[in-house]
C-alpha cells in the first residue's frame, strides 16, 4: 500500500469519528453563527485593489516588514543627507564670511564700482 492509499484509509476512518457530543456541537454552531455575524463586507473597488496588494504582501504584518521598514529607512537616509548638506553650506558661508572679515581690505571696497572695474581690468591684463 502506498502513502496515498494509506492516507485515504485513515481519512475514511477519521471521518467516522466526527460525531460530537451535543454540547460541543452546540458550541461550534454558536461560534459559527457569531463568525457569520462578523463577516467582513466586500470592500469598495479602490480599496479592493489595495487589499489585494496587502494580501500579496502578507497582510499588515507583511507590509510593515517588507514595505514600511525600507520606506522608513529611505526617509531617514534622505533626512540625514539633507541635514549634512545644509550644515556643509552653512560652514562654507561661515568660512567666506571669516575670510572677508579678517582680510586687510575693508569689506566696503567690494561694493565700490570703481574697485570692481579695477579688478576686472587687472584680470584682463593678466
Amino acid at each position: 500500500m502506498n502513502e496515498n492509499q494509506f492516507g485515504d484509509r485513515v481519512r475514511h476512518i477519521l471521518n467516522q469519528g466526527l460525531e460530537l457530543d451535543s454540547a460541543a456541537a452546540e458550541r461550534l454552531r454558536l461560534a459559527r453563527e457569531r463568525a457569520l455575524e462578523h463577516q467582513r463586507p466586500e470592500p469598495a473597488p479602490a480599496l479592493r485593489w489595495a487589499d489585494n496588494v496587502l494580501g500579496n504582501l502578507g497582510g499588515w504584518s507583511g507590509v510593515s516588514l517588507r514595505l514600511l521598514l525600507p520606506a522608513a529607512l529611505l526617509v531617514a537616509g534622505l533626512l540625514t543627507l539633507y541635514t549634512w548638506q545644509q550644515n556643509r553650506q552653512i560652514a562654507e558661508l561661515e568660512e567666506i564670511d571669516t575670510l572677508l572679515l579678517t582680510d586687510e581690505l575693508p569689506i566696503d571696497a567690494y561694493l565700490d564700482r570703481g574697485f570692481q572695474d579695477w579688478l576686472k581690468k587687472r584680470a584682463a591684463e593678466q
Partner: protein, 189 residues
Amino acid sequence: MASRSELEAFLIGVERRAFKQAVFAVRDQDAALDIVQDAMLRLAEKYGHRPVSELPLLFHRIVQNAIRDYFRRQKVRSLWTTLLSSLAPGRGEDDDSDPLDSLHAAGGAHPGEQPGEQLERTQVLEIIEQEITRLPERQREAFLMRYWNELNVAETALAMRCSEGSVKTHCSRAVHALAAALKARGIEL
C-alpha cells in the same frame, strides 16, 4: 467574494475536522473549541470577503497559528504555575486520563452493522486518533492537512509556511510512523 451562505457552508464542512485536529494537538476539548471558535471568527472578520476557493488554505493557516498561540500562552502560564506550585502543596501528576477518551469517537452506528463490528470500528478509530496525537507536531500537521483536509502539497506548504519538499518529508515520515504504530497494536489498514 464568499457570500454568507457560502461561508456558512464552508464552516459547516470544516469545523468538526478543525476541532478534532485541535484536540489532537492540544489534547484539551475546551481549549480546542476555543481555538476553532477564534479561527472561525478571524476568518470571517479578516477574510470573509475573499473568494471561496481561498478559504480552506486561509482557515487552516489560522487554525495552525491559533494552536501555536495556545502553546505559547501555555508556556508562560506553566512557568507561573511552576513558580507558584513550588510554594504551595499541589496535585501530583497522577492524572493519566487521556482527553481523547472523553470524546465521542464512536460515531453513529452504521445501518446493518453488527455490535461486534461497531465495537471494532470504534476501537480502530480510537487507536488511530491516539497514534495521530503521538506524532511529532509538524508531521501531524502535514499529515492531517494533506490526507484529512485534502489540501495539495503546495497548499499545505503555504499553510505550514515551509517548502513543498518539507511537506513531502513530514507526510512520508508521518505515514511510516503511523503505519508502524498501528501494526504494533495489531491493526493493518
